[in-house]
C-alpha cells in the first residue's frame, strides 16, 4: 500500500515533467528570428513579413543553406559532417534553437522577454 502511494507520486512527477516539456516545446516563439554566427548577428528576420527565400551562409568554406517558407525557417542542407541542423527541421520552439556546431551557426527566436539582455540595454 505504502509503495503504491510512493510509486504513484513518482508517476505524477514524471507526468508533470512530460506535460511541462510538451508545453514548453509547443509554446510559440515570437515571429522574429535571429541568425548568428560566432556570436555575431548576421541577419534578423521577421517571419510573418519575410517572403519565401533560400540563401547560403558560409563558414570556413562550409555552407549552410537556409530556407524560409510559409513563415517558417529551417536549414535545408549543410556541408557539415553531421547534418544535425538539417535533421532538426523547421524552427518551432524558443527552447530548441537550430544549431550547427561545426559552422558556428545558431538560428533562434529573438528573445523579447525580460532577460539578461533587457538588463544590459
Amino acid at each position: 500500500m505504502k509503495y503504491k502511494i510512493i510509486t504513484l507520486t513518482a508517476v505524477v512527477i514524471l507526468l508533470a515533467g512530460i506535460a511541462g516539456s510538451v508545453f514548453v516545446l509547443g509554446s510559440k516563439g515570437g515571429s522574429t528570428v535571429v541568425i548568428t554566427q560566432n556570436d555575431r548577428v548576421i541577419r534578423e528576420i521577421d517571419l510573418d513579413l519575410a517572403p519565401d527565400e533560400t540563401f547560403d551562409v558560409e563558414y570556413g568554406g562550409s555552407k549552410n543553406t537556409i530556407e524560409i517558407k510559409d513563415g517558417k525557417i529551417r536549414v535545408k542542407s549543410a556541408q557539415c559532417p553531421d547534418k544535425t541542423c538539417v535533421h532538426m527541421g523547421w524552427l518551432s520552439s524558443p527552447a530548441m534553437p537550430i544549431v550547427c556546431l561545426p559552422n558556428h551557426l545558431v538560428i533562434k527566436f529573438a528573445d523579447n522577454s525580460e532577460d539578461v539582455d533587457a538588463l544590459t540595454k
Binding site: 505504502k2 509503495y3 512527477i13 508533470a16 506535460a19
Partner: protein, 165 residues
C-alpha cells in the same frame, strides 16, 4: 572509522570515478546541460543504502571534487555540489521509508532532487529566470535516468552481498 570501512569507501569512490570517466566518452544526444545518465550515481545509490550518512557524504564529496579535477570542468562543480546536497538529503530521508527492494524508486526521487538542486544553482548563479523552461526536461530525464541507475544499483547490491557483508 575502521580501516576496512575507509578502504571500502575508497574502492567505491574509485569505481564511481572510473564509471564517470567512461561515461564522459559517450556522446550525449541531448543538448541541454544537466541531462545525462549519471551512471556514477549507481555507486551513490548503493552507498546510501549500505553506509552511514556521514560516510556517504564523505564518499560523494570526494567523488565530486575528483570528478571535476579529472574532467577539467570546474564550472560544473557548483551545479553538481548543489545537486548532490539536495539528492543526498532527500535520499537519506527516503531510506527510512523505502526499503532496499524498492531502491529504484528511491533513486528516481534522488535523481529528480539532484536535477532540482542543479536548477536552483543555475537560477542563483546565472540570474536568468527563463532558464526554468528547461526544468520539465530535467525532470523527465531525472525520472528515466534515476530508474535506470536505481535498477543497476539493485543488481550491484545483490552481487556485492557475496563480497561485502
Amino acid at each position: 572509522m575502521k580501516p576496512r570501512r575507509i578502504a571500502e569507501l575508497a574502492v567505491l569512490c574509485a569505481v564511481s570515478l572510473i564509471i564517470f570517466i567512461v561515461e564522459l566518452q559517450i556522446p550525449n544526444p541531448f543538448p541541454i546541460p544537466g541531462i545525462k545518465l549519471g551512471l556514477a550515481n549507481i555507486i551513490t545509490v548503493y552507498a546510501v543504502y549500505h553506509y552511514k550518512p556521514y560516510e556517504v557524504v564523505l564518499l560523494v564529496a570526494v567523488r565530486i571534487l575528483l570528478a571535476s579535477v579529472f574532467s577539467g570542468n570546474f564550472a560544473a562543480l557548483v551545479y553538481s555540489f548543489s545537486g548532490s546536497v539536495f539528492c543526498l538529503l532527500g535520499m537519506l530521508l527516503l531510506k527510512r521509508i523505502i526499503d532496499e527492494k524498492h531502491l529504484w524508486l528511491s533513486s528516481v526521487f534522488g535523481a529528480v532532487l539532484h536535477n532540482t538542486g542543479q536548477m536552483a544553482a543555475a537560477l542563483v548563479m546565472l540570474q536568468t529566470p527563463s532558464l526554468i523552461v528547461y526544468y520539465p526536461f530535467l525532470i523527465v530525464s531525472g525520472c528515466l535516468a534515476g530508474a535506470f541507475t536505481g535498477l543497476a544499483a539493485q543488481i550491484v547490491s545483490a552481487r556485492l552481498k557475496k563480497i561485502i557483508k
